[in-house]
């Protein structure tokens, strides 16, 4: 995606846990913080709900980056240990991405608590800057429907 001036504007899909990160994204709004409009947030109840299949679909459809975000380990998870399940799943997945020619930097697993609106803003800023450096993703993967 590029904006009207032709500058590359990366698109980032975010899967955010309802209890921590989604609440932080709301708090960033109610606190009138400001960040670039490159993120699209999809609410899930727990980071443990996020299936790598979604992430692959996002990349296949044109995402330049994907963030999966949940509650801080060890004890913040609303469902005891969903965050650990996400962690295990996506650490493995990260390696897989490389083999598909997707730079590891395009995927982030983040822990952002309900209070950490400024952390959320920081993550978005960092990721946008990083992706601008990397440029658009040209995936060489096919996802079957």
């Amino acid at each position: 995606m590029s904006d009207s001036k032709g500058e590359f504007e990366p698109k980032i899909v975010v899967y955010a846990c309802n209890w921590c990160t989604y609440a932080a994204t709301d708090l960033a709004g109610t606190s009138r913080m400001s960040y670039p409009p490159n993120v699209r947030i999809i609410r899930v109840m727990c980071s443990g709900r996020v299936d790598p299949q979604f992430v692959l679909q996002a990349f296949a459809d044109g995402a330049d980056g994907v963030i999966v975000a949940g509650c801080h380990p060890p004890a913040d998870c609303h469902y005891i240990e969903g965050n650990y399940k996400a962690y295990r799943r996506f650490e493995l997945f990260r390696k897989l991405l490389e083999t598909m020619g997707i730079e590891q930097e395009r995927f982030r697993l983040e822990w952002i608590s309900a209070a950490e609106a400024s952390r959320w803003v920081q993550v978005v800023n960092e990721m946008v800057a990083q992706l601008k450096k990397l440029g658009p993703l040209k995936p060489n993967l096919e996802v079957r429907e």
Binding site: G48, Q57, Y79, K85, A115
Partner: protein, 650 residues
């Protein structure tokens, strides 16, 4: 659902909150072009009566079977709009929110970019809505009982309300007595002290058979769900039983001395002690953390009230709800913060308050460092409002009133003592403002400082405070005999354990966060768990009591029917697809899944009441058999594809 989706999209202006940054008309026009959207409108306040009526009318007029409200966060008004659509005869889970306020208009400034983003957010919501299904709430039996954690004023008030209504209540307190900090200090109004309020509550609790008080006790495990919680409580040994007559002989012989937390460290107490004269339950207690089991007290007790062999025990309780009212800790000034810890005449407001209590080591006399001070200064906002590096941002609400109240008391009893109050701003809420006026009349001297905080010097000539007086714009030096640091409130030290056991979450200031400040102010995000008192942030005694009543009322309304409904967004197995691999069984944090034999086949089975709806099993299932209702694969994939304009077929 086989029926073709017919979607209505409603774009809210939220006054200027959204419409100021997002071109709502364009968003609504765009929505009309999306698949299955039958009608799209914008309106100034969707959550208002007329806004909701608009949706209801359209559902009937256009035969809508899905609704997308493009407005604020679902955490704010999802319930509102679910109710609205269900009033129009639609299943309430056929609603989807597009968050274009918190996620868009409030965080972006470029109108064009924000409008483009809002369109995509709506497209994502519509994509998910196309795949929504009607869901039915489940009903489970609920116990009309409650576990109240914390025996301070908030917890006691909650317990009394619940008991009056016929609930059985377990009042669990970590300390050997209930009462909390209000049993020691504080005022409700100039004539009513915290300890008076507490002792009245004790009288009621003593007479109430439905309230079981468990002291020296803590919650160590909580499982189950709203209406059906299982609580494991550890009861630490008190070693003293109800045969105790309060004669106090044991105290004489006990060799162990520790700082007395019930006098905020003003004096020492023994390992066997009575926290305060009307402590409840009214027996001595041995501090199990410091007792060395020498047996001296046991020997001297003539009533056989002491048993040093007592062991900790664990009990299990079944309760319908939990009220968390575990209070706060006083701010702990660091050594040297305004001279704290470096001079015996520099004390905290909590210590001063206790000193003025008739039960104090000085019997209520203002004796600091051996004599009545000729001049005494209060420094406000210690630990609050960013005055020092360790200080919190917030105001602790009670310190101004308490300091002023104490200053008046001092002036009344010791008219010759000079009293100074050094403050940033005076926050005497409501009728407490009259106290401020009265203090002025009594010649309490108010000295205002701004960002430059007062400096305390400890010299051979005595204590001095140097301060830049803001109103007269001059540096002044005040010689004083004693200094009182008006400390604020902190989250309780053991809040981490509380979070680990109850799974509540904390806000930015470290206190427990309500499910929603406006819509669910005494509820934790987990259904069946309620919050009262200072655990959610600083409050005065009256506010804590009110919150105790409110939390109890909420618990009662949840459980009064003997059954409660649970959200239907739980896991569901497609038996055809399930291979019986049992991967889901291992990942479920609540042991909600088991493998059953159905016609000879191994099939996963979800115990609905146990499933909390995290969806982890859905992500783990290799066959796509397990689906998280409301967040099914197809729904989330549709939402993902819609970011880029792609679709999933219905």
């Amino acid at each position: 659902m086989t029926e073709e989706p017919r979607i209505g999209v409603y774009v809210c202006h939220c006054g200027f909150n959204i419409a100021g940054t997002v071109d709502v008309k364009k968003v609504a026009e765009f929505a009309k072009t999306l698949p299955n959207v039958v009608v799209a409108k914008d309106y100034v306040f969707m959550c208002s009566e007329p806004g909701q009526d608009l949706i209801k009318a359209d559902i009937k007029a256009h035969n809508l079977n899905r609704v997308v409200v493009s407005a604020c966060s679902p955490s704010l008004h999802e319930i509102t709009f679910r109710t609205a659509v269900s009033e129009a005869g639609l299943n309430k889970y056929l609603l989807e929110m597009a968050n274009i306020r918190e996620h868009c208009s409030w965080v972006h400034h470029d109108k064009e970019k924000a409008t483009e983003k809002a369109k995509e957010i709506v497209r994502m919501a519509v994509a998910k809505a196309r795949h929504l299904e009607p869901l039915e709430e489940l009903e489970v039996k609920a116990e009309p009982s409650a576990l109240v954690l914390g025996g301070g004023v908030a917890g006691m008030r909650a317990a009394l309300e619940l008991a009056n209504y016929g609930f059985n209540v377990y009042l669990v307190e970590k300390a050997p007595t209930i009462g909390g900090k209000a049993a020691l200090i504080g005022y409700i109004d100039p004539k009513t002290k915290g300890p008076d309020v507490v002792s009245k509550m004790f009288d009621r609790i003593k007479d109430c058979p439905r309230i079981q008080v468990l002291t020296n006790a803590e919650l160590i495990q909580l499982s189950g769900f709203a209406g059906n919680y299982n609580a494991k409580i550890r009861i630490n040994p008190r070693y003293v039983n109800e045969k105790c007559t309060l004669c106090g002989e044991c105290e004489e012989v006990c060799p162990i001395e520790v700082s007395n937390e019930y006098n905020f460290g003003l004096n020492k107490r023994k390992a066997i002690f009575l926290p305060f004269s009307n402590a409840y339950p009214p027996y001595y207690a041995i501090d199990y953390r410091v007792c060395v089991k020498c047996g001296e007290c046991e020997k001297v007790c003539r009533f056989g009230a002491i048993n040093l062999k007592e062991e900790p025990k664990t009990i299990e309780l079944k309760v319908g709800s939990v009220i968390i009212a575990t209070g706060y800790d006083p701010y702990r000034p660091f050594k040297g913060e305004y001279g704290y810890g470096l001079h015996q005449n520099i004390i905290t407001l909590f210590q001063l308050e206790r000193l003025l209590d008739p039960e104090s080591p000085t019997k209520g006399e203002l004796i600091i460092g051996g004599k009545v001070p000729k001049s005494i200064a209060f420094i406000q906002c210690v630990g609050s409002r960013n005055t020092t590096p360790g200080a919190k941002e917030y105001c602790s609400r009670m310190c101004c009133t308490t300091a002023i109240n104490s200053a008046i008391k001092i002036k009344e009893k010791y008219p010759d003592t000079n009293v100074y109050i050094l403050y940033k701003d005076i926050m005497t809420y409501g009728s407490d403002e009259t106290l401020y006026e009265e203090a002025g009349k009594k010649l309490v001297q108010f000295i205002k400082f701004e960002d430059k905080i007062p400096k305390v010097s400890i010299t051979p000539e005595g204590l001095f405070i140097d301060v830049f007086e803001y109103t007269i714009q001059e540096n002044i030096r005040i010689p004083v005999d004693a200094i009182v640091l008006s400390i604020g409130m902190l989250p309780p030290r053991d809040i981490e354990e509380l979070i680990a056991v109850t799974r509540v979450s904390c806000g930015g200031e470290g206190f427990v966060r309500e499910a929603h400040l406006k819509l669910a102010p005494v509820e934790a995000p987990t259904k069946g768990i309620f919050l009262a008192g200072c655990i959610t942030g600083p409050k005065n005694i009256l506010e804590s009591i009110r919150m105790g009543s409110a939390a109890a009322a909420k618990a009662m309304s949840l459980l009064s029917k003997g059954k409660i409904t649970i959200e239907p967004m739980i896991a569901q197995v497609n038996e055809e697809k399930c291979s019986g691999c049992a991967i889901c069984v291992g990942v479920c944090p609540y042991s909600a899944i088991s493998i059953k034999k159905v016609n000879g086949d191994r099939i996963a089975y979800v115990e609905k009441a146990l499933c909390m709806g995290c969806g982890t099993c859905n992500a783990a299932c290799p066959s796509g058999a397990m689906q998280h209702l409301g967040f099914k694969d197809i729904q989330l994939l549709a939402q993902t594809r819609a970011v880029f304009g792609g679709e999933m077929n219905v």
